[in-house]
């Protein structure tokens, strides 16, 4: 009887847990088959998530980057929102092209930022990929095991890059390197797959624990 009193949603905290449990069970019901409970909670989830996104939009973007500069006297910021609202012309057949001006600005800026990203992110990665494989004066502490690992690292990197060479027909040594690259890709994909599966399993374990521990109070 005491367990039942604790279990039932008789307090605000228990009510919250019951709501969470009902949401979880309703979404898991899809594992049996498509049903109205799943559909309802799926729509609720989309609505809530879309609604929630408006808070950060207003508080963290419009207030911080538009309203505050305006109040500090930067009057030209007043044009940012109406310019962004040109995007909404996308639904108009007659004025739809105006939205492409805004899209053009966003795409152009993204392209410009990508040049920066390419140089600042990928160029150092290329440099860092070529690790020492022979002990010299510059890397006296290099162990044989590290040197072998570094050699394997470079071989894998180059063979996978060779696999992606589609500009000409792969023949002879290039083809053999590409085959090795394909096997290395399989290893990488297997590792990524294993990691992803375990991450999802951790989430599933978390959900089962929530149902058994928080809701049913069984463990």
């Amino acid at each position: 009887m005491e367990w039942l009193n604790d279990f039932l949603p008789l307090s605000l905290e228990r009510m919250g847990i019951w709501i969470g449990a009902i949401c979880t069970v309703a979404l898991y019901s899809i594992l049996y088959r498509e049903n109205p409970a799943y559909r309802l909670f799926e729509h609720l989830f989309i609505g809530l998530a879309a609604g929630y996104s408006l808070g950060p939009l207003v508080g963290d973007i419009l207030y911080k980057y538009w309203y505050l500069p305006l109040t500090e006297g930067a009057w030209w910021w007043a044009f940012a929102v109406p310019f962004g609202m040109w995007l909404y012309f996308i639904y108009s057949e007659k004025y739809g092209w105006v939205s492409r001006i805004v899209i053009g600005v966003l795409i152009g800026a993204s392209a410009g930022l990508f040049f920066q990203q390419f140089c600042s992110l990928y160029v150092p990665q290329i440099y860092a990929s070529f690790k020492p494989i022979i002990p010299t004066g510059a890397n006296e502490g290099l162990l044989a095991s590290n040197a072998i690992n570094n050699f394997i690292f470079i071989v894998v990197l180059l063979s996978v890059l060779t696999y992606f060479l589609f500009s000409f027909e792969q023949r002879g040594p290039v083809k053999r390197t590409a085959v090795l690259g394909r096997w290395m890709l399989m290893i990488a994909l297997g590792a990524i797959f294993g990691n992803t599966l375990m991450a999802r399993m951790a989430l599933l374990v978390g959900r089962v624990y929530y149902l058994l521990h928080d809701w049913l109070m069984q463990i």
Partner: protein
């Protein structure tokens, strides 16, 4: 004195409101002017703004910089920061566009009473309620001169907390954990050994999956592999103890992730980066037909 301050504040607020209204009127008036342009003129404008937007960021990065206040800057560094903030606002409007699209679709379902319009109604109600509470909550967290920007309400905060913590967070975790079941089914198909590639994929995934959880350590130590590598063997990788330690599932999983997975993933990233660079140049120079008007 206070009255004068309040009046000057009121005056500034009215002035700001007038500027915002004028900006809206001006920008929407500009649309009607732009509408008078020919198709070639419209295309030229889209191409020009795309090019200029990209050029500013490219120039800012490639032009030589001088140390100013401990940072390397050139004459475009500060303006690009302002432009990035401006683009945040514009991109924020794009987020609103997505919400507007969702509202439009589901409102139409409800108004026209299409099949299963009740689900659309539930989506709209949850969107409107959560949107209102989320904006209220977000503005309530902002402080102006020590006071919250918007007065908060305890009941509203409680409802927001229930909707966020007990619904969104729980359903988000449930949705992502659902994928585990589908991944299992995909794994069954992917792991059927039909070729050398499938065998490599399966073996690697198995080692990684078992190696990164406590089961891998338990199995390895259960068959007698050393639990730890004594420090004196750390510099002797070819000693029997070090070799046996390397055969432990957690060590193998770690080695696969760092020595085989990392370079292969990096090679994929390099390919994506070069492809992205080519696409960025095409978009920047409006060589794709997508921006045509």
């Amino acid at each position: 004195m206070q009255l004068a301050l309040d009046m000057s504040r009121d005056g500034a607020t009215w002035m700001m409101a007038a500027i915002v209204v004028l900006a809206f009127l001006g920008m929407f008036g500009l649309v009607f002017l732009l509408q008078m342009l020919s198709t070639q003129g419209r295309r030229a404008i889209v191409v020009a703004v795309t090019f200029i937007a990209g050029l500013i960021f490219a120039l800012e990065f490639f032009l030589p910089a001088q140390p100013v206040d401990g940072q390397d800057k050139n004459f475009l560094s500060d303006p690009t920061l302002q432009i990035q903030n401006f683009l945040q606002v514009v991109a924020g409007m794009a987020l609103g566009l997505g919400t507007y699209g969702l509202l439009r679709l589901h409102l139409r379902n409800v108004v026209q009473k299409r099949a299963q319009w009740g689900y659309s109604a539930s989506l709209l109600i949850s969107l409107v309620v959560m949107g209102f509470l989320s904006i209220w909550h977000s503005l309530g967290e902002k402080n102006v001169e020590g006071q919250p920007l918007v007065a908060t309400n305890e009941t509203a905060e409680y409802i927001f907390s229930v909707l966020f913590n007990n619904m969104i967070v729980q359903m988000d975790a449930a949705m992502f954990s659902l994928i585990a079941f589908y991944i299992f089914s995909a794994a069954y198909r992917a792991f059927r050994i039909r070729s050398i590639e499938a065998t490599i994929l399966m073996a690697t995934a198995m080692i990684v999956m078992i190696g990164i959880v406590p089961l891998g350590k338990a199995i390895s130590e259960g068959i007698g592999l050393p639990a730890e590598l004594p420090p004196e063997y750390a510099k002797e990788p070819f000693s029997l103890t070090a070799i046996l330690y390397s055969l432990k599932l957690p060590t193998m999983a770690d080695w696969i992730l760092k020595t085989l997975n990392a370079p292969a993933t990096r090679a994929i990233e390099f390919g994506v980066a070069v492809g992205g660079l080519a696409t960025a140049i095409r978009l920047w120079l409006s060589m794709d037909r997508g921006l045509g008007v």
